[in-house]
Subunit: 158 residues, 2 copies
Amino acid sequence: MSDPTGDEPGFALPLLLFAGFRTLIDRLHAELAAQGHPDLRPAHGFALQAIGRAGATASELGRRLGVSKQAAGKTADRLEALGYVERVDDSHDARRKVVRLTPRGVDALVRSAQIFEELRAEWAAALGAQRLRDMEAGLRAMTPGNFFRLDAPGWFTG
Amino acid sequence: MSDPTGDEPGFALPLLLFAGFRTLIDRLHAELAAQGHPDLRPAHGFALQAIGRAGATASELGRRLGVSKQAAGKTADRLEALGYVERVDDSHDARRKVVRLTPRGVDALVRSAQIFEELRAEWAAALGAQRLRDMEAGLRAMTPGNFFRLDAPGWFTG
DNA sequence: TAGAATCGTCAATGTGGTTGTCGAAAAGGT
DNA sequence: ACCTTTTCGACAACCACATTGACGATTCTA
């Protein structure tokens, strides 16, 4: 209004991006809670995604999440206590213990994917499909390409 | 709906938003570190912003950040140890101890604002000023209005 | 086969968050 | 003025999530 260009101040951009992220994640977990997964936290969702249907060892999980193997092991402990993963001995390597999704873990993953599709459809309906694609394309252009490294936790506090 | 248009999968949207946020914050702190503030972490930046030039009590800071007054007090302790804030007694209210920015704290805030402007200018140059404004407008439309509540930490883990 | 790398775990520590409690000080109602 | 309620800052205990360093056991490799 008073700004002749109408530009947002610079500090608003990261805040808006975070607000968008947070809004989506909050809605995801509200839905997951309503669908039988009330104990799942955002950090757990990232870990489940990183484990994947093929499973992973604690060390591998740590590499995928960008954290130490010890931290990954503790996260696996918590997910195990919540019933989302189980540990199985590897018959080919006595050192390895594979963290594998339980049926409950798979269910959470399937539902998450479904909910994300619905949320994206909401955004597409509100903004227009093309505007949403533009936004995604713009973000993809401004972020490091192989940014499917899910390492949110711990990064904030250092 | 199928996607003959090559739409992004739904789960990519939050990841892209987070990647954008993280990219900006990482660049901010790389710059801050180069400009004499290597110990400042993302969480600290949020707290400094919430304290502001007018200062705030621990309780008020807690309300602004959406955390308990105890947590806010600990964060103030940490910032005090790093030399970014100081505590002064309130002459009108013997209970209150106002957390106020030191010159170093003000310097960090000023530099942060400057860096954010530069980063936004980079995005505007790469995407086009209008596309960036569209992105910001879209995000503003999809996020709760008064989202200047800086409560990132703790939210993730619950 | 000896040496190096990897796996999972234990231990100690740092940071940031949460309740609950408490005394001191301010504010409010009668 | 007095008593009650609220607010403030602090302390204590605890939890979540990360770190580094060390360790025995196992596997890979030169």
